[in-house]
Symmetry: D2
Subunit: 342 residues, 4 copies
């Protein structure tokens, strides 16, 4: 059995996923594409020699008989409508973050999915598939460090362009920590606060950089997350979980070590795209494998997308207020408790 | 285009590769299987739900119309005949080590392939696809450490069973270093010597363990390779290349770090099968991709299989003599110089 | 020239310093001792075979002709009076922390010293003499990381006794970070806030542990300091300074590495007394050397003692209020600007 | 009680030790100096403001009433006569390596010392006082790694001057490994062999560099020691002891870590003088402390000096012959078995 994908949005990330499914992963094929820019959709078919139809819009693509699963890699504000339409049609959906741009939008998807009666949607939070995070999760679940009390993490980019704004530190950068951390410790966020240290001279005038985001969970875990997108030295993701019996930390990105010029060192990545490349492969392979095996996807759920949206909204509010803001999640529906997500 | 594989030998490693091609990699399928134990071949078809014919022997499988490439994962002494038959039939071959059990056998394959006129054969030396070795190779090729002068490496297993004999330290263990090191430094072996340090109390009576193998290349590089297959603490592969401008070393296997019980540490693998799992995937994916793209495989060649066999034979002789033994390779045919193998 | 010391307070730390001066360092000798417990003072003379007079109290000891320098290692609340008396007598003083138990008390010492006209007092903040902190200071001063923007540090003990109370996390534990961090970045504290994460199950009922202290400097540097005195795994001091051009971190305590039982690790200390043992030696040797060379001590000043006291008071207030509290330092007198302390 | 030193040889290393005793260590003073260059001896007295007499030669200095211990830091070939004279006079001796330039010369000292009836001599092999080696020794003695089977070590200098010749790789460089390794594993050398890898382009024409020295002990331990004195990248000492239960390794020289310019690294020393600076202090302090406490020094003995000389001679022979050469030690006298040297 092959999962036949229809792709909505043939920009950069859409193309990466198309190449992945066609050339690297097992059990999927691209049978349909669409894009608001139809020329882009046609170009993709030609360039990657796809045996795929080009559709005028997401609705037409979703309703195509031979489309088993929809890959939503369009512009963020368009995600919600495509996902709702796919659920309506009973099609599987792999949607890149954000699931929807608002908590309300996410909740509409959650409700539609519950009404449908089984899981259809997986959100593209790939870090849960990274071997480092997987090892952290196993250690915590096996009680290796006892009860988690604190988390220290950092998300650093060497630099960002002029279009990167202060709120994107939440929506585009911290969003990955927001998803992966509550999953790691199996807890929910209660409050969030943002502090601005001295600004880096490499940050453009309109941008506050670095930022420190402090999240507190219902269970009392305090998370200190540094976002620093002009750190110059490289792309670097750090995460340390401090428990009452010990500490575990994410490994450095794997590099040969060297001794040269009075330095004993390893290489730090410059390009974020290289950091989670295996995780991108694994999330999509798992999406396909899990559907084949159980009839439902196994990765981050619509509910996880909702958590991310509500938490990000509170963090944005905290950026402006300087105060500790409440993360107001509704109670988790029983429907999502049945899924032990990866 | 899909590469249709016929598999000769459905034991443990054969099954691993079958699962890989069916479930994890892109662009291949299993259409034929055979095994001296026909029940095993039939079991594989059933168990993995293959759409594949069971053949009575390798010759029949090789001559099947729909077989594009042959995967040789049978018992070592049977490899040569299957590979020669595949070349005769003009089929691609991915053969697990050893290419053949003797230097002469390898040379027969080399000559058959040259006579055929293009590359058909790839030998399963997977380490060249390991990201650590790939980084070492890049660093050396980019002259990051200047001229390589020495290599220190270690190949350690936690323990071995009763059937592991002293010569297997060469044929089954060192064989991977033999292949990957000459490729790393682009040089050929000249001599080999074996020294036996004090024996570990954990080594069984019939086994000499550890062993130190010293290889010298034509260019004067001295390689000190420790083989220690009852090291107790874990499966550990180390490689350090010392050049006149600096040193590069293989990374440790990637693990989260921890602080617990007065230790700051990382985990060492126990099972060798976990160490190069990505490399196994990559070598087979590359075999398929390269054939599709260029009409020839791209990985370790028959000539590399020949080098490994001749070097291993000299090392076995050195185990017995205690002397420095010559590695007598014939001159490399121009045919193989045209291939810049991975 | 030998510096002749009078020691006020012959408890544990007094004895450590006496042994150091007598047996390990160059250029000092103990000629006088006193203690509120006269038996302890006599015992010290006998046990360490000192050629030293026992005085009934600090005043008598300070006024002894042959005392060049006073070592104040008595109970904290007694420090201020002894230091003031020594300044009055024009004697050098090496005083263990705290300089005085209140900011006002420290200010009285500052004013007495200024009135005297030259430096006499060094406070026992030994971390500035630790080779790791010295390297951090050099790197920062040499602009290796550009402008410091953030500091992340941790002060962890394996466990504490029943007499350790929540405020001691500031006065006895964080106090070392308070001193060393403003020196590292050459900046002053502006505000301090304390957050309590989920409590460790190993902390006794009366103790809040861990604590996170956030300090902000006048220059905008945000310092996140974790205090965790029941971390179980060992005594561990961490400090990472994040600048706009790079990051520097304190080394782990130096230990051999090992590979055993599926772990690649180093040893973490259990006993805090081993961590800064070289720094204790160096601070006292430097005290003596600097006096001999320049007529004044070179280490942490009375002003540094004042900063520590005022900052600690604000932190204690923050422990209770949960709010961001202001660190209200008076303007630094020119007198102390002339000293480039180590 | 103060140990009163007479110093024979006021060149670079003599001056370092004089400064150490005068300014840094406890319990010693310099009361006499001599040098074949009398102007140098006088200069030292003046420059370091010593209260010391200048003697015309070693004999006169040794016989001075107020000299308790002799520090021999003259030219190597002069050591033997000074040490013998000191023993004759019943004076303690701290002698820099070599104890004597030949095995026979060392044996004359051994015999003189035995005849005297108690230990007087300590040889300046400082590595035994280095905290890293001390930790290795403890781990081995505590059976942490079981029985040692192999040792891998490296001694690397960034570069050497024109006067550095191939044999100095043994006498001046490897000599430290020769001493410290037999002490570490409590075993004696049986054979030694030297291999020359490809020469570094940075080595001058007359010099073979790098060299690999293989030592085998009576107990069967195989030691692979790399000497590379033009390694360019820094001064680097490595030592890994591989046992049947685990492995222990010397720590890297302690440095802050940094993240900058796409590198995560630590600093490697350039200057060998910084590497063992603490060990130099400790060996001399221990020499004084042990004499005061037990009447005899505690560090490396004349017998250790003899082992070093005989082993170095065999290694020099092996440099020329290319063969495995025997290290011919006479049986260890009971006299030296009574000393458990540090």
């Amino acid at each position: 059995m092959t999962i036949r994908f229809g792709v909505i949005g043939t920009g950069a990330i859409g193309r990466e996923h198309i190449k992945r499914i066609q050339n690297k992963l097992s059990g999927g094929e691209i049978v349909a594409v669409t894009d608001v820019n139809q020329a882009s959709a046609k170009d993709v078919v030609e360039r990657f020699e796809l045996d795929a139809a080009v559709y005028p819009d997401d609705k037409a693509l979703i309703s195509a008989e031979n489309v088993d699963a929809v890959l939503v890699t369009s512009w963020g504000p368009a995600h919600e409508a495509s996902v709702l339409a796919a659920i309506e049609a009973g099609k599987y959906v792999f949607v890149e973050k954000p699931l929807a741009t608002t908590g309300e939008g996410c909740m509409r998807i959650v409700e539609a999915e519950m009404k449908h009666g089984k899981r259809l949607v997986q959100v593209g939070f790939m870090r849960r598939y990274d071997s480092g995070y997987v090892q952290l999760k196993e250690a915590i679940d096996n009680n290796f460090i006892g009860e988690p009390l604190m988390i220290r993490c950092a998300h650093r980019n060497p630099e960002v362009g002029e279009n990167y704004t202060t709120d994107m530190a939440i929506h585009d950068t911290l969003i990955h920590e927001i998803d992966v951390l509550h999953w790691l410790v199996n807890d929910d966020y209660k409050t969030v606060q943002v502090t601005y240290p001295k600004k880096s001279k490499h940050a453009l005038e309109h941008l506050k950089d670095p930022q420190i985001v402090t999240l507190e969970t219902n269970g009392g875990i305090v998370i200190t997350a540094e976002i620093f997108v002009n750190c110059k030295y490289g792309y670097d993701i750090q995460c340390e979980v401090i428990g009452d019996e010990g500490i575990v930390s994410l490994p450095e990105f794997q590099s040969i070590s060297f001794r040269k010029n009075a330095t004993f060192g390893t290489n730090v990545l410059n390009d974020w795209k290289d950091r989670f490349i295996d995780a991108y492969d694994k999330e999509l392979q798992d999406f396909m494998d899990s559907i084949k095996k159980t009839g439902e996807p196994n990765g981050p759920t619509s509910w996880d997308g909702y958590i991310a949206a509500v938490t990000a909204d509170a963090a944005i509010k905290a950026q402006d207020s300087g105060e500790k803001e409440v993360v107001s999640l509704v109670e988790k529906p029983d429907f999502y408790n049945q899924y032990q997500t990866i």
